[in-house]
Each structure stands twice: as C-alpha cells, then as structure tokens.
C-alpha cells in the first residue's frame, strides 16, 4: 500500500500546485497551462479510486476539449491589459469567509467519518451493499445505467444542447 500512498501524494501535489499556480500567474496562458496540470492530477486521483471512466472522461473532456476552448478564449481577449491589472480584488474578505466555511464543513465531515453521509438509509437510498466492489468494471455499470434506466434523459439532454447551440448562433449572427 506504500506505493499507493506515494502516488496519492504525487497526484495531490499536482492538483494543489497546479491550482495555486492557476490563480497566481499573471499571464493567462500560464494559468491555463497550470490548470491542465491540476486537472491531470485530479484524473490520477480518479484512477486511484478505480473510477476508470471518470479518469478517461477527465483527460479527454477537461484536459483535452475544455482547455482548448479556454486557450481559444484567451487568444481572443486582450491579454496585455489584464496582465497589468491587480490580481486580487477587494472581495478578499468575502472569499476568506467562504473558504473558512467550506473548510469547517469539510473538517466536520472528516471528523464524523462515514456516518455523516447516512442521511436517509431507511428510505430506500442506495445502501452500503450497492457500493460493494463488483467484478464488473464501473464503466460497464455506468453504461448500463445511462443507456437503459436513464436512456430518455440522456437523449433529451441532446435536444437541450441543440437548443443552446442554435440559440447562441441566433444571438451571435451579424443580421437576422
């Protein structure tokens, strides 16, 4: 288990270090590149939790697709101007309070342990047995749920995306 622990700390370090760099770099491109490192760290953590599907999605979608979009946007905005501005704004008090609140929340759950998540074990919520490790990979389980039980929401979500795309184009066209 030692090797697991080492990997965990490496990935955690990547995640946190990347995150810190993302918010401290002045140059937006550097920030974006640091974010990639952070996201890769998260992907590694997913893999350690045996969530292969999330791992793959994290790499393909976030590290691949969404970051490319980010870089495109950064290319289109005026970088010189924003590099000169102050990096930290006047809302830091609010941010501090929010961070403290979330920190307290997380500490509470860590302190309570697994029991904190047993809100409604009586009312047909997935019991511990449902989370037991099965021989089927979680990608297959996910596919079963997505394409059988939740087939309809999955399909109509595509209509939602279509509507959003058409709407964006209508709003952005030069003339109607």
């Amino acid at each position: 288990m030692l090797i697991d622990t080492i990997f965990f700390y490496v990935f955690a370090l990547l995640t946190l270090g990347g995150g810190l760099l993302t918010i401290t770099r002045r140059n937006a491109v550097h920030s974006a590149l640091s974010l990639i490192v952070s996201l890769l760290g998260v992907a590694g953590l997913y893999l350690m939790q045996q969530a292969e599907f999330l791992f793959a999605v994290q790499i393909v979608l976030y590290v691949g697709g969404i970051m490319v979009l980010f870089l495109f946007v950064i290319m289109l905005v005026n970088l010189d101007l924003s590099a000169k501005e102050r990096q930290f704004n006047g809302q830091w008090m609010v941010a501090l309070v929010a961070v403290a609140a979330v920190g307290a929340e997380i500490s509470w759950f860590l302190y309570r342990g697994q029991g904190a998540f047993q809100l409604a074990d009586t009312a047909g919520a997935p019991s511990a047995a449902a989370f037991a490790v099965t021989t089927t990979g979680n990608t297959e389980i996910l596919a079963d749920v997505l394409f059988q039980e939740y087939l309809l929401p999955f399909e109509i979500a595509s209509i939602l995306l279509l509507v959003a795309v058409v709407g964006a184009v209508v709003m952005a066209k030069k003339r109607i």
Partner: protein
C-alpha cells in the same frame, strides 16, 4: 447479460408529440437554405403542420395511457390535456407571427425551430413523472424562450428582456435543481410516484429536509410562473420581447410550469401538503395583490398585461392551495381560458403597435372603436374575459377556482381573491373607455392590411374564449376526469 435498450414501441408512441416537434424543428433549420429565398411563409406553415401533427400524436398516445421509459414519463389525461394546450398555444403564437416577422423583416427558420423546441420541452414537462425529465424539459423550454425574447437583436429593449430573463431564469433553475438534489439526498429517488410512496410510508424521512426541498422547488417554479415575490422579471421581459413572443411566454411556458407545479406538489409532495400550504397561500395572495395594484399604474399596454398575468398566476395558485381534485380541474380550466384571452389581447396589441412596435401606450388605443371596429370588438371580448364577465371563459375560470377554494374552506383567500378581481376590472375597463370614448389618435389611424393568418390569430382565440364561456362543461369534464389521475 441480454442487450435491452429500454425503449419499446409503446414507449416511443407515448413520446410521440415530442419526437414530432423535435424532428420538425430540426428539419426546418435544414430546409432553411432551400426555402428562405422563395417562400419565407413556408416556415410558419410547416410549424403549424408540425403542431397539428403533434396534437394528433398526443391524442393518439392517450388511446393507450400509461408510463413509459421505466416510469420516467407518464401519459395520462392530465399530461395529454397540457400537451394539447401548449401546442394550441404554439399555433396561436405562430399565426400572428407571420405578419409580425414580415413587418420587422426578421423571418428566419430559427424563430420557428426554437418555438417548436420550446413547445417540445413543455410537452415533456407536462408528461414528466421524474424530476430529471422535469428539469431537462424546463431547461429546453426556458433556453428557447430566452433566445426568443431577445430575437429582435437590434432592439435595445429586446436585448434587455433577454438578458434579464436569462440571468434571473438561470438563478431560478439553480434553486429548482437544489431542491431536486435535496429530495434525492433525503428520499433516494427522483421519481414522483416513488417520492410519494416514500413520504407516505411508515418510515418517512425527516420532514425538515423534504420541506426545504419543496420550498426550493417552489422558488424555482414560482419564478417560471411569475408568481410574487419572484415576479420582478415579468414586466420588463413582456414589454421588451417581440409581442407574439410575449404572448407565448405568458401562456405556454406558464401553463407547462403550472402542470409541473401541480404534479410535483400534489403527487410527490402530496403527503406533506399541510407543510407547504402556507407557502402557496401567501404566494397566491401576494401575486394577486401585487399584480393587480401594479397594473393600475401602468401606461404601457404590454406592461399592464404583464402585471395582469402575475395576478392571474395568483388565481391559479389559489386553485393549487385548495389541494383537491376540484382545485386541479379548476386550475386546468383556468389555464386554457387564460391562454386564449391573453394571446388574443397580445395579438391586438401586436397589430396596433405597428412597425417597430412604436405604439404601445394605452393612449395609442384611443378611438380604435371608430377606426377599426372589428379589432376593437375582439379586444373587448378578450378584456371582458380577463375581467371575468359572464359568457366568457374567464368568468367560469374564476368561478371554478373560487368554488374550489370555498370547498376547501379557504374562505378568506376566496374573499381576498374576489376583491382583487374587482380591482382588476378597473384597469381593463380603462382600456375599453379609451378604445370607445376617446377621439382617435395618431396610432389608430394607421391601418395595416389584415393578413388571413392574422385574422385567424384574432378569431380563433375569440372563439375559444366564447366557447369556454358558453359551453364550459365540455373542457371542465375533460379536466375533471384527468385531475383525479394526478396522484
């Protein structure tokens, strides 16, 4: 493991209206390059055809009612009633859109496609039996509506309308989603029937969480139906949006949101009815009062109709407060009557306001009775129905709602509602006085030729309003039979 892709032929038939509308909406955009140059009216014709086919599909699906996709959808009388209602609203929106879009030189396939998608989303909401479907349907309907509200992009007010609607709408959706998440966390399911079973079972989960979830969903849906205190967006959006779109927003999404409202609160949260009752009670009273008193002070007709629509949302909430089958049936009847009279009133405003929507003030209606007697007569029918004068749909709508309230011993709410209707009579009658007893102004003089489509857009709602006023039993029976199925 046998391969089983969930969807059977029965499932698909029960989903038929949505399939038809989505396919036609996509087809419209594909046909755009072919049709645009030659016949821009074709988009409207095709959309109306799609909606008629959709109504046919909904009625056909009703011949074999039941659940579909593992209980995600349910086709019952209630669902079919609202599906048909929103599709009729769609047709009544497209009819005045022909002339309107031609006047603004803004005929595109996207307008009609978005309208069809929006209606498809509303059909999903009407038939949803699962909070996930409710959410996705709500978003499909809302996002199309945001874009339609800002459709005239060169118009500053249209932009403002779209932006406000979008920001506040997203905010409200987040509230709704938060409620869904808490429901799932507490009960372990998002299926409405299963939630009801879990809540009425012996080991029901803590009522605190589920009431919190109900309250959050109430905020989200309260926004969508423009009930006070979540109504602030409505006047600006209705004023800025293109008039046919404003008519659509005040009838279609509202009816679908109320359908969801009734289904969630009476089916899923029915067992904890006593806990959410005060919430709806207060919102109903507040909506009626705020809507009616604010409408008294308006000079812009579209703005006034927006405030009146807030007040009408309050009346429907009274029906929800009754928590009975009579109340549900009354709400269903009212929403149908309201759709006809409000779309009609907006259609008249759309015609009178002229190119670029210049004439929107109440003063601009002066002397309409002398210059355009037909138009004035139609407006009179719609306004009298909005007041709730006998022989119009509005009268029986209000009558059934207050009857349901009295049957549920909500005497004070009924009394305050009736007093509110009296206040409302003032601002509707003020328009009629302006139409018939004042000298014609500049706006009444400009007579644009009435297209056949627009004639229909006036006559159909007027016939609908009168039909519901003279033969209310037919629709009421229909609603009454379906209302019992909601649970």
């Amino acid at each position: 493991m046998p391969v089983n892709f969930g969807a059977t032929a029965t499932d698909l038939i029960r989903f038929l209206p949505e399939i038809i509308l989505t396919v036609m909406g996509t087809a419209l955009m594909v046909l755009d390059p072919v049709l645009h140059k030659r016949a821009s009216h074709a988009f409207g014709h095709l959309s109306i055809f799609a909606l008629l086919a959709g109504i046919g599909g909904a009625v056909y699906a009703q011949s074999n009612p039941g659940t579909a996709f593992g209980g995600m959808l349910v086709v019952d009388g209630f669902a079919t009633y609202f599906r048909v209602l929103v599709m009729v609203v769609g047709i009544l929106t497209i009819l005045p859109s022909y002339g309107f879009l031609a006047r603004q030189q803004a005929e595109t396939s996207e307008y009609h496609a978005l309208l069809l998608f929006s209606i498809a989303g509303q059909c999903m909401m009407a038939a949803a039996n699962d909070l996930i479907i409710v959410f996705i349907g709500l978003e499909i309907s809302s996002i199309s509506s945001y874009v339609l509200a800002g459709y005239l992009r060169d118009d500053k007010r249209s932009n403002e309308a779209a932006l406000k609607y979008f920001l506040l709408g997203s905010f409200a959706t987040a509230f709704f989603l938060y409620g869904v998440a808490i429901t799932y966390g507490t009960v372990g399911t998002v299926n409405l029937t299963a939630i009801r079973a879990a809540l009425s079972g012996a080991d029901a989960p803590p009522v605190v969480f589920i009431t919190l979830a109900a309250a959050l969903m109430f905020v989200g849906l309260g926004f969508k139906v423009s009930a006070a205190p979540f109504q602030v967006w409505a006047p600006d959006v209705y004023q800025g949006a293109p008039t046919p779109v404003a008519a659509f927003l005040s009838a279609g999404p509202k009816a679908a949101a109320f359908a969801v409202f009734l289904r969630i609160f009476l089916t899923a949260f029915g067992p904890i009815g006593a806990d959410w009752l005060p919430l709806v009670w207060m919102a109903a009273l507040l909506s009626m009062t705020v809507g009616n008193f604010a409408a008294l002070m308006q000079t812009n007709v579209k703005r006034m109709l927006a405030y009146s629509s807030i007040a009408h949302a309050g009346y429907v909430l009274v029906a929800l407060t009754a928590q009975s089958d009579t109340g549900t049936a009354a709400a269903m009847f009212y929403l149908a009557a309201y759709a006809f009279m409000n779309i009609g009133a907006f259609a008249v405003v759309s015609h009178v306001s002229g190119r670029g929507e210049r004439y929107q003030n109440i003063d601009d209606l002066a002397g309409l009775g002398r210059k355009q007697p037909m138009m004035a007569a139609m407006l009179t029918i719609f306004l009298l129905s909005l007041i709730g004068v006998p022989l119009t749909g509005g009268f029986f709508g209000k009558f059934y709602i207050f009857k349901a309230a009295l049957e549920s011993h909500l005497v004070w709410l009924a009394v305050l509602g009736l007093l509110n209707s009296a206040v409302a009579a003032y601002y509707y009658l003020r328009i009629l006085v302006m139409v018939y007893m004042h000298e014609p102004g500049e706006a009444a003089g400009q007579t644009e030729p009435l297209t056949p489509g627009f004639r229909l857009a006036l006559i159909l709602p007027a016939l609908g309003t009168l039909f519901l006023g003279i033969f209310p039993t037919w629709v009421l029976d229909c609603a009454g039979k379906s209302a019992t199925l909601v649970k």
